[in-house]
Each structure stands twice: as C-alpha cells, then as structure tokens.
C-alpha cells in the first residue's frame, strides 16, 4: 500500500504545475480562448515536458506511462483549467496503440509523442467531437469498427463548449480501418478517459476550494472576515471533505486502469469514481460560487470558469445517473 506519487511522478507534476503557474495564468488563458482556442506554443511545451508521449509505448517514442502517471498531470490541468486538448489526443492515441497495425502506429504515435500531431476521438462518424478543430487526425468509431481519418477528409463546424473547449460538429468522409470489432478497446479507452476526467475534476475542485477559502479569509462584512461565520465555515468544510472523497475515488479509478486484469472490476471502479466525482463536482462548484456572493457570478473571476469546467466534467463520459446504472449492472 502506497498512496504517494513516485519520485518521477512528483517531479513531473511539480514541473507541470510550475509551468502552468508561470505561463498559464488566468489572463494568458483568456487570450488563448479569445484566439483559436488552443496555443501551439503551449502544446510544444507540453510535448517537451513529455506529456504527449507519457502513455505511449517506448516502441513508438513514448514513455510507457499509465493512468496513475497521468493523474497528477490531469490534476494540474484541472487547477489551471487548461483548454489544450491533451485528453482527446491521448484517448485517440490509446486506441491507435491498442487497435492499430504496426504501420499505423509507426506513422501516428511518434508524431503524437513529439507534439507534431494532435488527435481527437469521434464516437460516431457524425457528431460532436471535443478537440476536433485542433486535431490533425480523428479516430472514428463506426458501429463496432474503428477507423482513422485525416482532418482534411472531415467536414467540421467548429464551436466552443460551455467550458471553452474547442470542439467541432463533424461529418467524417474518407477513412482508413484501424480494427474491426474494437468494442473492448473502446470500452477500455473510455474508462481510461473517464478516470482521467475524474483526476482533472479533482484538480478543478482543489482550485475552487482553495480560492473560496482565500475569499472567506479576506472578504469582510459586518466588520469581520466572512469566514468567521459558522454557517459558512461548515459549508466550506463540507466542500473540502467532498474534494478529499473525490480524490480517493480518482486514485482508485486510475490505479484500477493500470492494474486491473478484469474488465468488469475496472469498469465498476471507474463508474463508482465518476458517480462520486460528479456529485462532488456539483457540490463544490455550486458552493464555491455561492460563498463568493455576487463576485462568484462574475466572468472576471476564475471561480466562475472552474464552475463551468466542473459542470461539464461532472457529465462528460457519462453523468452520475448513467454510471449508477452501469455500477448496478456490474
């Protein structure tokens, strides 16, 4: 039993966090959102830090890491509300790595690891795809079969999600087969993605809790910091408890992705985690805005943006109801 990150995991998390604190502040993020919706410069830095190659096999230029390795990275992304589409790229890369031919892997995976190629995953040939506008290739599920398509062969209407991710309404044209009957691979990749979304949500909750605590200590009314009021103290304590419980479940989900041989054991842990994280995300985000008062509603404060992100993460890859159904069936 060991709940520590390894030395390498900790070093990586620290350097990602430091970079995001220095170069990915609220103002910088705002500029990226006002522009194309992602920064190629930031992406190049992610690649340089090894993030794009982290879960890719060393045979194809990656580091062979797992979900636990990515957990601390996703947590840091959640804290900074990163909009660059790392997760869509990694889901699609995982599918190529598991379902693709050696030749396909050789063309795609090293380019992803080096930061030259972004990917996205489309769960059907027509539909909404997060990360599509930034992607050079799309991995596409069509029925039970997996394909890969060049961005040039995809018709796309770009849009932004509630939490400012660049997404696209796509219609996939010409595509190349990756694998037939790839359902097991897709299920696994979606569990992988769900576990990472849990970790990202934990990071966003950490930010929301800490910034709210800071606000309670500095905002004065009736001549005292509002954190002196017990009605508010108990509510923020409950926010921190929710966040800790959510973190425990994110640990469980990520470690089961890496260690579980059994698909239903893995799925059960991931669903349990997503239910708890969805509940916690809703609780923490709503309370963080409420305890900020009117300021919490303002677009000028980052807390309103963590609210938006947590609202999406709570439901992305299945909301609590969806996962309650799956949890009970396993």
């Amino acid at each position: 039993m060991n709940f520590d990150y390894s030395e390498e995991q900790q070093l990586l998390a620290d350097s990602v966090r430091r970079y995001l604190q220095d170069k990915y502040g609220f103002e910088e993020r705002k500029k990226i959102i006002a522009g194309q919706g992602w920064s190629d410069e930031v992406w190049a830095k992610f690649a340089e830090m090894g993030l794009t190659g982290l879960p890719i096999s060393p045979d194809y230029g990656g580091f062979g890491g797992g979900a636990v390795d990515l957990m601390s990275v996703m947590e840091a992304f959640g804290e900074a509300l990163v909009v660059e589409p790392l997760l869509p790229t990694l889901i699609a890369a995982r599918l190529v790595g598991r379902a693709g031919s050696d030749a396909q892997k050789k063309t795609i995976l090293p380019a992803v690891a080096e930061g030259r190629l972004r990917l996205a995953f489309a769960s059907s040939p027509r539909g909404k795809v997060v990360g599509a506008p930034a992607a050079g290739k799309l991995v596409v599920l069509d029925g039970a079969d997996l394909h890969i398509a060049d961005a040039a062969d995809v018709k796309m209407e770009p849009y932004r999600t509630l939490d400012n991710m660049a997404a696209g309404e796509v219609v996939v044209g010409k595509k190349e087969l990756l694998a037939k009957n790839a359902k097991a691979h897709v299920d696994e990749a979606l569990d992988f993605a769900t576990a990472l979304v849990c970790a990202e949500a934990v990071g966003a909750m950490k930010f929301a809790c800490e910034t709210t605590l800071e606000y309670l200590k500095t905002r004065k009314q009736f001549g005292v910091p509002i954190g002196a009021f017990q009605a508010l103290q108990h509510r923020i304590v409950d926010m921190f408890i929710s966040q800790e419980q959510a973190r425990s479940m994110a640990c469980l989900a990520c470690s089961k992705i890496d260690s579980s041989e059994n698909a239903s054991e893995r799925a059960r842990a991931v669903s349990a985690a997503k239910i708890r994280i969805a509940d916690a995300a809703r609780h923490v985000s709503q309370e963080s805005v409420q305890l900020h008062g009117g300021m919490g509603m303002s677009e000028e404060l980052k807390v309103s943006h963590s609210f938006r992100r947590l609202t999406v993460l709570a439901r992305q890859f299945g909301d609590a109801d969806h996962h309650l159904e799956r949890f009970a069936s396993l």
Binding site: K217, Q230, R247, S248, L252, S259, A272, D279
Partner: protein, 373 residues
Amino acid sequence: MDLNYSPDELAFRDQVRDWLSKNLPAELKDKGHYSKEELLRWHRILAKQGWVAPAWPKEWGGTGWNVVQRYIFEEELGYAGGPPLIPFGLTMCAPVLLRFGTEAQKKRFLPRIYHGEDFWCQGYSEPGSGSDLASLKTKAMKEDGSYVVNGQKIWTTLAHYADWIFCLVRTDATLEKRQEGISFLLMDMKSPGITVRPLILMDGAHEVNEVFFDDVKVPAENLVHEEGKGWTVAKYLLGHERMNTGRIGESKRQLAKLKELASSQMKSNPRFRDRLSRLEIELIALEITNLRFLDRMRRTGQPPGADVSMLKIKGTEIQQGLTELAMECTDPLAGDEKSLALQKKYLSMRKTTIYAGSNEIQRNIIAKMTLGL
C-alpha cells in the same frame, strides 16, 4: 501509487480473519446491545490471545504492530461482527495513564484494564456542558488529602456496568481562564455518594446514564497529571490516534447484510438501488481516504491532523445511511421482532452524529485547525 495491501499485510489480515472466525463465539455476533458479561467475555478472549490493546507499549501488553497492521486488525474486528471493545479503559483511560500517570497509577490500573477486571466509563458531559465542555461545574474541593466531589455527569455510557469512572472536574472556580481550573480524576464507582440513574433512549435501550456525586471522597492519589491540568489531558486524548473513527469494518458488514436484506428492492426499485449504491461508494471512498491518512502517518511519523475529524463525520453519516435504508426495507406498520429491531437500530444510530464531539463540533475543528478560519 499502489492501493493494495502488500503480501505481508495480506498475510497478516488473513491470520487475523482466520483467528476471528475460530474464536469469536457465534452467539456474540450482530447483537445490537450486549450485557456486561458478553462484553467482558469477548474482551477476555482477546486479552488471552494478547490482542486486546494493540496500541499499548509492548511492556504493558501491546502487540508492537505498526499503524497499518493496527488498522487492519480493527477493521477485521468490526467486520467480524462481534461485541465492540469498550474504549473507555482500553483506548481512553489507558493512553492517558501511559502519558501522564504515575508509575503507581500505571501498575495499579493498566493490568486490570488489560484483563477486563475493571470496567471503565467516562465522566465528561454535564447537563449544562455538552459541546462547551470547558464550562463544566462538577466540583472537587481538596480537604485533608482527599477531594470531595459534588455535581452531576450525564450521557455516561455504560456507567451502570462500570467499576471506575474517569472524570473532568473543577478544582478551581476562581480562575479567569476556565480551562485552567479543570482536573482529571479517577473515581471508584462503589464510593459512597455516587448514584447512577438510567436514561432510556428512544429505542428503549439502557446504554447511558446520569451520574450524581454527593460529597464523594476521592483519594488525592487518584488525580492524574497535576491539579488544573485536566484540560491538557482531555486535549491529548482528543488528539490521540483515532484511526478507527470511520468504523469502516462495521459498515462493510452492515452493507453486506443490507444487500442481502434488500435484494428484492434492489431489483424493483431503482431509486432505492441508487441510494444504496451512493452509500456503498461513499464507504469505498472513505476507506481509501482513511488509508491515505494512515499512509501519511506512516511516512511522516506524525499523528493524524485535525482533518481525521472528517472520518468521524463521513463514517457516522454512512452508518446512519445504512441503518436508514435497512429500516426502509421493513413494513412501516410492522410489529414483528425482526422488523422492529431494524427500525430501532435506525433510531439508535441517530446518536452517532451527536456523540464523541458532534459532527458540528468536528466541522468547527476542521475549520479552525485545518483551514485556519
């Protein structure tokens, strides 16, 4: 990161589980309330095995287990469904004596606690002093080398079984800082002037009492630590390693029993099923949270921070949630013994969020100590 126990820890767990399956008498399992004889019977079986006080120093009978082994043991003990080990002697009075007691006090009391020869209870709360414990009024005045105690304690769990009571008493009512006038005193329950009156709770059970002190003479040698240092002792006890406040093992057993009981509701009523799932998930999360705290303790060698209060908050909410769902599996108008037992268990468990520092007090502690509010 590895959430699994090591092979050594698993072997230890299996050893404990195996021993419990062979040595816990079936007739002692899953009874809501236990007689004094039943409680002591199980206490003595564990004492004979050398496992009744794992956290004590080895010279006094401790096992020398590390924090993880102790946690595993406590969880297995809860999961086995036997009588609870009554904490007042083993994990409350004893750690206090080990830390603050004189050699004579240790020699006199510790072996008797270990072997279940003295049954202890705790005299903290008073009618006017619940959450605001430092306002307590029970007086102990020194006269001719003894203390003379007058006053009243309330909610005294199992005082009607107890041979001894440890009490917080006021030895000086003149000090401005009221905490400094409190002392920690041990009293023989057979002392003249002590009266125990039952308080029957809403499930009809007799667990707690009022204890009255009317000119009770207590030898001065029964004072623990110095006069006026009782609050320090109480705070030490509060901060003393309390890693099983989440009651994970017991809740796991309750969950398994609830799933059996509710198998038809689970199929026919998705609303019930989802509530049960959420409780199960909260319990899974709490177990991991608890292990994360343990892991931190093991790494840093530091005692748990104030945030273990969250284990009490979440653990008791889960206990209440499980018994509430079990109650809902019965006919609301039932009169049979089995249904009424489930309904009364629900009533009884409402106490858990109130006792041992109400959950509101636990939130105050986290707000102040962890969040700095």
